[in-house]
């Protein structure tokens, strides 16, 4: 069956006409989505991630109902909780002052069918606006998927006015077999700094396709780290545009995959202004018969002279049936630039394991130490005191060799 056929079956459960907001916009977004349906390998942007194949089970298999309310990380910061894509007043801190997107996307879908799908069915999302010069501290943004058969599509919007600061720690959890397609629109204006930490611990039965659409202004900075351990299929797709001179972007990510998981980190960093810097480090640890994907593109426009772009992706294969596919691209139209990318794929070094074993460390522990060391480079830039322990704990509890 084609991607469109599966999509129809899946979306039969969503009555788009009954959703609030601009019906016309929803229908046009839906049409955009249906022009491709669930993307598969024929779409170059999805060359290594066949979402259509994975969605087949969502459309065909009988649904099992199972409701579970996951726990939140116990950290003492204001938190916003979205359950199944809708703001939950009772679970959220009441001290927070924010708006809700209520199903009204601002950014256009572009060519992504998943962003279009989100626009068609989104109900809610946080709309955070930080006024000029304000240091807004740290916010915990929690997404919970709670039941089988749901299509969860929050649309969050984060706007930082000139010279403001914000740290967002996003924790994504759930139980059940659901589809989660969050879209986050980010606008960091001149001189602003947004730190965006994402911990994706979705239910092992879910499909998670997150899209981050970010524009970074003059001398502004966007720093993001994603750790992915959950979902049967997960994809984090970053579209970051450096729109003002001197903008600085850091996109780091790590994914830990086991069983039959499929994890995809896709980044498109567009240098549209001169003198900008971008840094990317993406690490994949792959066990079982899991499959990891990295696609990263640095685009340098003609005007973007003095660009400094760097991208590194590394993968560690822990089993004979693990697979990594990597596609690091450079697209350069300006001559006075410094751009490079590197990729390295390999296994744990037996000599390093031997070194540790000979010092009395168990095999299991030796491997854990080396895996942690491998991830270090991507974790290093996280200086936030709240975020860092969350990630450390998630890595600590990740069990390679488990049949997820």
């Amino acid at each position: 069956m084609s991607g469109t056929a599966h999509a129809t079956k899946f979306l039969d459960r969503v009555d788009v006409a009954s959703l609030p907001g601009d019906q016309e916009a929803r229908q046009s977004a839906l049409a955009t989505f249906f022009s491709t349906g669930w993307p598969d390998r024929k779409h170059e942007a999805w060359h290594y991630t066949d979402l259509n194949a994975r969605m087949r089970s969502f459309a065909d298999e009988a649904l099992v109902t199972r409701t579970l309310r996951p726990e939140f990380p116990s950290v003492d910061i204001p938190r916003l909780v979205f359950v199944d894509g809708v703001w939950d007043k009772n679970l959220s801190s009441d001290s927070l002052n924010f708006l809700r997107t209520r199903g009204i996307p601002e950014q256009k879908a572009g060519s992504s069918p998943i962003v279009a799908l989100n626009a068609a069915i989104t109900l809610d999302g946080a709309d955070l606006k930080i006024s000029a010069g304000q240091n807004a501290g740290t916010i915990l943004l929690v997404s919970v998927g709670s039941a089988d058969g749901l299509a969860i599509a929050p649309r969050h919007r984060i706007t930082l006015e000139k010279g403001s600061n914000l740290t967002v720690i996003e924790v994504i959890r759930g139980a059940g077999r659901y589809l989660h397609v969050p879209v986050t629109e980010i606008d960091v204006r001149d001189g602003g700094t947004l730190r965006h930490f994402r911990l994706q611990e979705e239910s092992q039965d879910s499909v998670h396709v997150a899209t981050i659409l970010a524009t970074i202004g003059e001398s502004a900075a966007y720093e993001t780290f994603t750790l992915g351990v959950g979902a049967s299929l997960a994809r984090s797709e970053f579209h970051v545009t450096l729109g003002g001179s001197g903008a600085d972007v850091q996109i780091n990510a790590a994914q830990l995959l086991t069983g039959t998981q499929h994890g995809d980190v896709t980044t498109i960093v567009a240098h549209d202004a001169p003198g900008c810097t971008s840094r990317q480090t993406v690490k994949s640890v792959i066990d079982g018969s899991a499959r990891g994907v990295f696609q990263g593109r640095i685009e340098v426009a003609r005007i973007a002279q003095k660009t400094d772009g760097y991208q590194m992706n590394q993968a560690l294969l822990l089993s004979d049936s693990a697979e990594i596919d990597s596609k690091p691209e450079l697209e350069i139209f300006a001559d006075d630039v410094k751009c490079s990318h590197g990729a390295a794929i390999g296994a744990l070094d037996p000599e390093q394991i031997f070194y540790l074993r000979s010092r009395g460390v168990s095999e299991q522990e030796a491997r854990a130490i080396l895996i942690r060391a491998f991830l270090h480079e991507a974790l290093e830039p996280i200086t936030d005191d709240v975020a860092r322990p969350l990630f450390e704990a998630a890595i600590q509890s990740w069990r390679w060799g488990a049949s997820g």
Binding site: E323, S326, K327, E331, K338, C339, A344, I345, G346
Partner: protein, 483 residues
Amino acid sequence: MVAVTETLQTINQLAGTGYKFGFETDIEMDVAPKGLNEKIIRLISEKKREPDWLLEWRLKSYRAWLSMEEPAWARIVHPKIEYQELHYYAAPKGPAPKSLADVDPELLNMYDKLGIPLNERAALAGVAIDAVFDSVSVATTFRESLAKVGVIFCSMSEAVREHPELVRRFLGSVVPAGDNYYAALNSAVFSDGSFVFVPRGVRCPMELSTYFRINARNTGQFERTLIIAEEGASVSYLEGCTAPMRDENQLHAAVVELVALDEASIKYSTVQNWYPGDAQGNGGIYNFVTKRGACRGRKSKISWTQVETGSAITWKYPSCILQGEGAVGEFYSVAVTNHFQQADTGTKMIHLAPNTTSTILSKGISAGRSSNTYRGLVRIMPRAANARNFTQCDSLLIGNHCGAHTVPYIESRNQSSKIEHEATTSKISDDQLFYCRSRGLSEEDSVGLIVNGFCRDVLKELPMEFAVEAQKLLAVSLEGSVG
């Protein structure tokens, strides 16, 4: 397509009273009507007195081609190619220049810069054959000494007639009839090309070059080359030459197949300097080539080296299929684009067997308003334990109106394999230029020197005499790109 129009005009002039379908013998070669259909393919096959199995193979390829679509994934832009407007059998030739005095002065100027001997210039410029220096005897001598050690080096047509069992066994075994759009087209209508067979244990005593093969001239736009090295054999093959060749066909779709058996080694070097179009981007050759080598045997080795400076469009991915345990694949490439040239080139390394290794070294230089893309695939299959790949892709941009792109695909399905990939993009630094200029070099010479340094790792893989020529060629290709 300019060349086609010119060709048609020529035919009309020659035919006097308008062009009728059918064969004309009053011009230099037989002419088939334009367009492509099964009748034309039967005709090509018949004219070449080919056996039935080859005709069947051509027809099969043609039918596969019909069901295929022109690929659109490469980063190239060109007007739609009208395949039914082309001639597929011996496209009629325009009048050859009678002497060097009739040859385009631009071309002569270039020969001068490349330091090509006077007597060879005529041959390259396509001056009528009887005016050309005595290359026939040279070629014959070579063929005799090759025959002594059992190396077969002849045209594909000759091979089909004289060694049908070899051709039948290997033709299409690396690039199957329906492999891709352009390869299918080539398989249906291929004109001629080289055939090399190096028997077991023989080290080919000399570098084989199309240049020395008498019937190499006018192998046409659909060249087909097949090189086989048996167990323990080794051969080095040179294709093309640094001098720009006069060519009337705008579309080229060649196929090259290499087969290396146990411990055999094949080195295939190309210098491609076909007409790139003028400085305004008019004309130029469209070059869609499928080159692939199969390392079938244990510890076999295939090495591709290419210097690509010509053609308006280059679409070319010389690949290695590493099937034998411990097989080695190498790809060394320099691609230069200037003015409005477009190159989308790279390689594929498919690791199927344990302990296979591959090395990719690619240097792209873009200048003017050109576009230069490296596109490559490294794939490690589950059986390829301890496979190893190293890739280095560097791009150099000269000027602010060109583009340099890198699109590598890296796929690993074996944990014991190691893959490393590095890519960089930069420009010629002002410091480097200043250093050269302060020592009295002109700006153009400085750029030439720096670019040669940038390409050194690849150029040193070329056979010596080729390397010297290639260095000059790089400098000439980049003329007018600075200052």
